[in-house]
C-alpha cells in the first residue's frame, strides 16, 4: 500500500513505518512512538541514553535483516517522539533499572511479541543484561552493543542540565569523542543530532540509571545463556564502555559471546552503518540458527 502510494507520488518511501500507541508503565499512561519493518523474529532495538530510535534507521531499512526479522525500534518516554508522562513538568526524570525493564517489557507485551530478541546500545546494552537475568525465559536472545555490567564515569553529569550551559550542545560535544574518528562525517553528525535535540535533563536522567542504579557486577554470573543467549559487541574506540569492560563482563557470563568491532565507537549502528553491518549480520544469522 505504502510502496504503491510512493510510486504514484514519484517518491521512494522507506520500508520502515512509524506508529504511536499508549502503554501503561508503572501505573502511568505513556504515549510511545515506534518504527517497524520486516517479518519474522521480533528484534526490539533500544537506543542510547539521551537519544532516540532514529539510531536504528539503517537496520529498519536493511532488506537482508528484515527478510527474517521484524525490527521494532521505539523511543523511550521523554525521548524522540514519545511524550513524557502527564505531570512531567513537576518532576525530575530519573531512569531506574525497574522503570527501564518495565518499559521494555510493556512495549513487548503491548505488541504481543513472542520470544523477542532485545538489542540495546550503551545503557540499552546494560539493561539487556538485567533482562537476560530476570526475564530470560521470555526472550529469544539479547545483544548488548557497547554494553557491560559496570563502567567508570568520565565526567560530572551536573554539566548536562543547568541554565548557564546549553544541554544539547554540551551533551553532543561530550559524546562526540565516542564516535570513531574514521566514521563518515554524515553519520557522525546525524548521530550527534540526537543529542543536540534532547529534552532538558533527559540525558542526565538516563545516566541516573547508567551511573547510579545499574551496577550488575554481582549478578551477571547468574545469567543462563542456555535459556537466553547473550552477545556483547563493542567498538574499539569506545572509551566510555571500553572493550575491556565488555570482555570482563563476557568472561563472567558462562556462554556469552563477545566481539570487539574495529573502526567503530560507542554508536555502531548509526555512526558507520556499513561497518556495523559486517558484525551484526553474522550474529543475527547465528541467533536464527543459520550458522
Amino acid at each position: 500500500m505504502a510502496a504503491k502510494l510512493g510510486a504514484e507520488l514519484g517518491v521512494e518511501f522507506e520500508a520502515a513505518i512509524g506508529r504511536y500507541m499508549t502503554v501503561e508503565i508503572q501505573g502511568r499512561a505513556n504515549r510511545i512512538y515506534f518504527e517497524t519493518a520486516g517479518q519474522g523474529i521480533p528484534l526490539v532495538c533500544l537506543h542510547t541514553a539521551g537519544a532516540d530510535a532514529t539510531q536504528y534507521r539503517h537496520l529498519l531499512n536493511d532488506a537482508e535483516i528484515t527478510r527474517n526479522y521484524q525490527v521494532i525500534a521505539f523511543d523511550l518516554p521523554w525521548h524522540g517522539k514519545s511524550l513524557p508522562p502527564v505531570g512531567y513538568h513537576l518532576e525530575d526524570y530519573n531512569l531506574t533499572t525497574d522503570l527501564y525493564l518495565d518499559t521494555v517489557m510493556a512495549v513487548c507485551q503491548a505488541l504481543k511479541l513472542e520470544q523477542p530478541v532485545i538489542m540495546g546500545c550503551s545503557m540499552g546494552g546494560r539493561i539487556v543484561l538485567q533482562l537476560a537475568l530476570s526475564r530470560g525465559a521470555e526472550l529469544g536472545a539479547v545483544i548488548g552493543l557497547e554494553g557491560a555490567d559496570h563502567q567508570e564515569p568520565w565526567y560530572d553529569t551536573e554539566w548536562l542540565h543547568r541554565p548557564d550551559v546549553h544541554g544539547g550542545e554540551i551533551s553532543a560535544a561530550l559524546v562526540s569523542g565516542l564516535v570513531a574518528p574514521q566514521s563518515p562525517d554524515e553519520f557522525r553528525w546525524e548521530t550527534l543530532w540526537g543529542y543536540l535535540q534532547g529534552g532538558p535533563g533527559v540525558f542526565k536522567g538516563d545516566l541516573h540509571f547508567y551511573r547510579v542504579d545499574s551496577d550488575y557486577r554481582d549478578r551477571v554470573g547468574d545469567i543462563d545463556t542456555n535459556q537466553c543467549p547473550v552477545y556483547l559487541m563493542t567498538g574499539e574506540y569506545d572509551f566510555s564502555c571500553t572493550p575491556e569492560d565488555t570482555l570482563r563482563t563476557a568472561a563472567r557470563i558462562d556462554g556469552a559471546q563477545a566481539t570487539i568491532m574495529e573502526g567503530l565507537g560507542h554508536f555502531p549502528m548509526c555512526e558507520d552503518p556499513a561497518q556495523f553491518r559486517r558484525y551484526i549480520l553474522p550474529v543475527l544469522d547465528q541467533i536464527r540458527g543459520k550458522t
Binding site: 567508570e152 548557564d164 550551559v165 546549553h166 550542545e169 560535544a173 569523542g177 574518528p181 574506540y237 572509551f239
Partner: protein, 122 residues
C-alpha cells in the same frame, strides 16, 4: 621557541581562517593554558580568534582553565587517524594522559569549539 610553538601557530592560523570556527567561538574571550609536558603556552582567545600565543608556564599570568597533556599523548592525538584512547581529550583524561583544571565553565559551555581547536588540521 619551544617544541610545540610552531604547531600551535599553525593551528591558530587555520582556526582564524575558518569562519565557522570563529563563529562558534564568538562568545569566547579568555586565556587558557595548554601544557604539553613542560612546554607551556598561553592561548588568548578573542571572540573566537586565537589572538595571541605566549610561551612560558613560569609567567605569573592568569588563566581561566588549563589543559595538561603528556608529549607522547599529544603526538598520538595529532595523528590523522589517532589510535583508540588518543582520539579525544576526554579519552586521554580517562587514560591519565591528560588533565583539565581551573574554572572549566567556559570550556564546558563551548566544548565543541575547544575540542575542535585542539584537533584542528590533524
Amino acid at each position: 621557541m619551544a617544541p610545540n610553538t610552531d604547531i600551535l601557530h599553525s593551528i591558530a592560523a587555520a582556526v582564524n581562517n575558518d569562519a565557522a570556527m570563529v563563529h562558534r567561538g564568538r562568545y569566547v574571550d579568555l586565556n587558557f593554558l595548554l601544557s604539553i609536558g613542560s612546554d607551556s603556552h598561553f592561548l588568548t582567545i578573542s571572540q573566537g580568534r586565537i589572538a595571541a600565543i605566549t610561551l612560558g608556564g613560569g609567567l605569573m599570568r592568569p588563566w581561566r582553565f588549563a589543559i595538561h597533556i603528556t608529549p607522547e599523548a599529544w603526538k598520538k592525538f595529532r595523528q590523522p587517524l589517532p589510535r583508540p584512547g588518543y582520539h579525544d581529550l576526554f579519552a586521554m583524561c580517562k587514560l591519565g594522559e591528560a588533565r583539565i583544571e581551573g574554572e572549566i565553565h567556559a570550556l564546558m559551555a563551548n566544548l565543541r569549539y575547544f575540542k575542535e581547536l585542539l584537533a584542528h588540521g590533524r
